[in-house]
């Protein structure tokens, strides 16, 4: 029998020491979107941006959380790199993997410095209806729980002798049953949890039309500097090096 968990969690934890922790989540969303646009640039300019972005992450004390997130994608990156190099070119392989790594870094940047409550608040201020902003923030909050449940299901099935191997292509037909053994409990648990949260939210007046907001967001000079810096940098990369 395979040995299960060691207690190591894969979820993103909050980096309180980062200067971005104090930034307005809307400013961080803006930076994240800006970086996501930059990834469409050609490789040479992307390489310049990557250097600057690494420096920015170092300043924001987020180099390690970002590297950890990218490391978790190592197998995907290796497979993508190998396929793209083999089927297209080395340059294309580098471009695709750099883009993916950058996007992963952006995810780490945002979620290492922002709580799900702050995300919900930012979405509300951006005029996303409360119902959807709350649901989206709750979905991100539940990612860690999903990971725990998935691990628990695998262990529970292992203990009865069912050993699902998702990425094995051999004996695919016989493995369909094993995959169902993971999928059915996962759906059941997720549905039950969703219902439990819905009940709890409605029992505390979730549908009230008189809702107020206790926490507020306000832009500071720091936020404007961050956003202006992002705009200037992208403009330079697009026009100065065009």
């Amino acid at each position: 029998m395979r040995v299960g968990q060691t207690g190591r969690s894969h979820r993103v934890s909050l980096v309180d020491a980062s200067p971005l922790r104090k930034a307005d989540p809307r400013a961080k969303l803006f930076i994240s979107l800006a970086v996501s646009l930059v990834v469409m640039m050609p490789l040479e300019r992307l390489a310049i941006f990557l250097g600057l972005y690494i420096f920015f992450l170092w300043w924001a004390r987020l180099l390690i959380p970002s590297a950890q997130q990218i490391w978790r994608l190592k197998w995907l990156l290796i497979v993508l790199f190998a396929f793209d190099w083999w089927l297209i070119s080395l340059e294309h392989a580098l471009l695709i993997c750099t883009r993916l790594a950058l996007l992963t870094g952006v995810f780490a940047l945002f979620f290492s410095t922002t709580t799900t409550r702050e995300l919900g608040l930012a979405l509300e201020r951006l005029r996303v209806p409360y119902r959807y902003a709350f649901s989206l923030s709750l979905a991100f909050q539940s990612l860690g729980l999903l990971e725990d449940e998935w691990r628990a299901i695998r262990e529970a099935q292992l203990s009865r002798g069912v050993e699902p191997r998702i990425f094995s292509f051999r004996q695919l037909v016989s493995q369909v049953g094993d995959l169902i053994s993971l999928a059915v409990p996962a759906i059941v648990l997720t549905t039950k949890r969703a219902w439990a949260i819905t009940e709890a939210a409605y029992a505390r007046g979730f549908d009230s039309p008189h809702r107020t907001s206790y926490r507020t967001l306000s832009f500071s000079r720091f936020d404007f500097v961050l956003m202006a810096g992002a705009v200037i940098l992208i403009a330079l990369l697009y026009w100065r090096f065009a």
Binding site: S159, P185, A196, R204, T212, Y214
Partner: protein, 478 residues
């Protein structure tokens, strides 16, 4: 003295869920302000369904066949909006972890206050008051999912009480709590009742509330069930005796030492129970013995012929983790190349699952699912025995009796049966009791003698309740 106008009134209320075909048989009740009411009844009689009807979740969130009417503080629940009902009553659910919806303790409380439309100063004032009242101030920035079961239940109650509802509905609030946390919760409930709040508690663990002064008791009957015929003959072959030797077992989780240098010598043919407060490593111990948890030290089975690794089946706390087949029969026989059908037939009869062989497991009651989870582990015939994590959670007495009968047959056949539980009545039926505390093993021996060891229970932080002391301790120090 004239009777006060009821806060809650149900008039011939019944409900049927669309797919499941069961629900609540017609019930009428009236609950006056300041009353503390306990509602009991067997599994499947509709306790949770009645709680949802009283809160208004039925018919607002659940659709099905509803008859009769419920009045909550002047509102007919089917006419009022859910948020209007939530201003009058609050509800605390069975599983505290599942009802946490905010990233911090503070935000969990603030959520309900924002929905009341209160100004920030009033929210701050109520937040600080409930944090203090429920002893949560030191935990205010913590993620609710990282709290213990008792702390989570306190938080769930605080989040509701901050809204200052006139009535409070609690659906099995004690089921996930250890004895001490359950006692603390009851003390809080008594305080609220004394303040004139109306409380209605749906609970299996009735004994915890029996001593509450002025308690009103309503027993739901539900549908009469077919009497189960549990086979008395034990077809399990007598097994060679063995000893499970656990030496210097240690486990670290996320940098925290959960178990350290644990040494146990466990004889086969016994029911062993592991008791301790939430978080002391009871489940971790079972997972280690099942081979699911990395650990230091060793666990080995010693027989007259030598040593071997333990082969113990594990029954998890949540049966939904394991069930995925189309019928009970398929679930138990899944991937068994040559199943012993005589043993299978005995097993489904002994577990009271015979009427459900063709039923999809997901449609069974929680008690039946638990027994099915035990059945599919036993069908694989683990060589040395079974490990059960909280097998009686949320179960009524009839379900527990079937479980204990089955476990006794396994032990009589020479298997090792080891379980964790907060249920002291179940624990008292074991042959041997292992008491764990934050520093490790506190007591280990025959159940009756460990129950007499007052200092060990004090070190474990478990206050044995009065009803238990009256029934089980000869000396009676509590």
């Amino acid at each position: 003295m004239p009777r006060l106008i009821p806060v809650l009134r149900a008039n011939q209320v019944s409900f049927r869920y669309p797919q499941e075909g069961h629900g609540l048989e017609p019930v009428s009740l009236e609950i006056a302000p300041g009353e503390l009411t306990l509602v009991t009844g067997p599994s499947g009689c509709g306790k949770s369904t009645l709680a949802r009807c009283l809160m208004g979740l039925i018919p607002h969130l659940y659709h099905g066949e509803l008859t009769g009417e419920v009045w909550l503080n002047g509102y007919r629940t089917s006419d009022a909006s859910m948020w209007q009902l939530a201003e009058k009553a609050g509800m605390v659910f069975q599983n505290p972890a599942a009802q946490m919806l905010a990233p911090s303790v503070e935000d969990e409380i603030i959520f309900g206050l924002e929905n009341l439309g209160l100004p920030p100063e009033e929210i701050t004032s109520r937040l600080e008051n409930v944090l203090q009242d429920f002893n949560l101030t030191h935990l205010r920035q913590r993620n609710p999912q990282t709290l213990s079961g008792g702390e989570q239940q306190r938080l769930a109650l605080a989040a509701i009480m901050a809204r200052q509802p006139q009535a409070l509905i609690l659906d099995e609030p004690l089921s996930m709590l250890d004895t001490t946390a359950a006692g603390d919760l009851i003390a809080y409930l008594q305080r609220f009742a004394a303040e004139g709040k109306t409380l209605i508690v749906f609970e299996h663990r009735q004994e915890y509330l029996d001593d509450v002064p002025g308690l009103r008791h309503i027993a739901l009957e539900g549908k009469a069930k077919e009497e189960r015929k549990v086979p008395s003959a034990n077809p399990l072959p007598a097994q060679e005796s063995f000893r499970l030797e656990v030496e210097n077992l240690g486990v670290q989780l996320g940098g925290r030492i959960v178990l350290q240098n644990l040494n146990l010598s466990l004889d086969s043919g016994q029911i062993l129970v592991v008791v301790g407060r939430n978080g002391v490593g009871k489940t971790t111990l079972l997972r280690s013995l099942a081979g699911l948890q990395k650990h230091s030290g060793s666990a080995k089975v010693v027989t007259v012929r030598g040593e071997q690794p333990p082969n113990l089946g594990m029954v998890f706390q949540n049966p939904d983790l394991q069930l995925f087949n189309a019928s009970v029969r398929d679930e138990i026989l899944y991937r068994l190349p040559r199943p012993d059908m005589a043993y299978y037939r005995w097993l489904v009869a002994a577990l009271g699952l015979q009427p459900y062989e063709a039923t999809p497991p997901l449609l069974l009651s929680e008690g039946e699912k638990k027994r099915l989870a035990l059945g599919l582990v036993l069908m694989r015939r683990p060589a040395h025995g079974v490990l059960l994590d909280e097998p009686s959670l949320g179960q009524d007495h009839a379900h527990k009796d079937i479980l204990v009968h089955m476990l006794r047959m396994l032990a009589d056949a020479g298997q090792l049966v080891m379980m964790t539980t907060h249920d002291l009545t179940l624990a008292s039926q074991a042959d041997r009791l292992i008491l764990l505390g934050p520093e490790g093993l506190l007591a280990d021996g025959p159940t009756a003698s460990v129950l007499e060891d007052d200092s060990a229970w004090a070190k474990a932080g478990i206050a044995l309740p009065n009803w238990f002391l009256r029934e089980h301790k000869t000396g009676g120090s509590g």
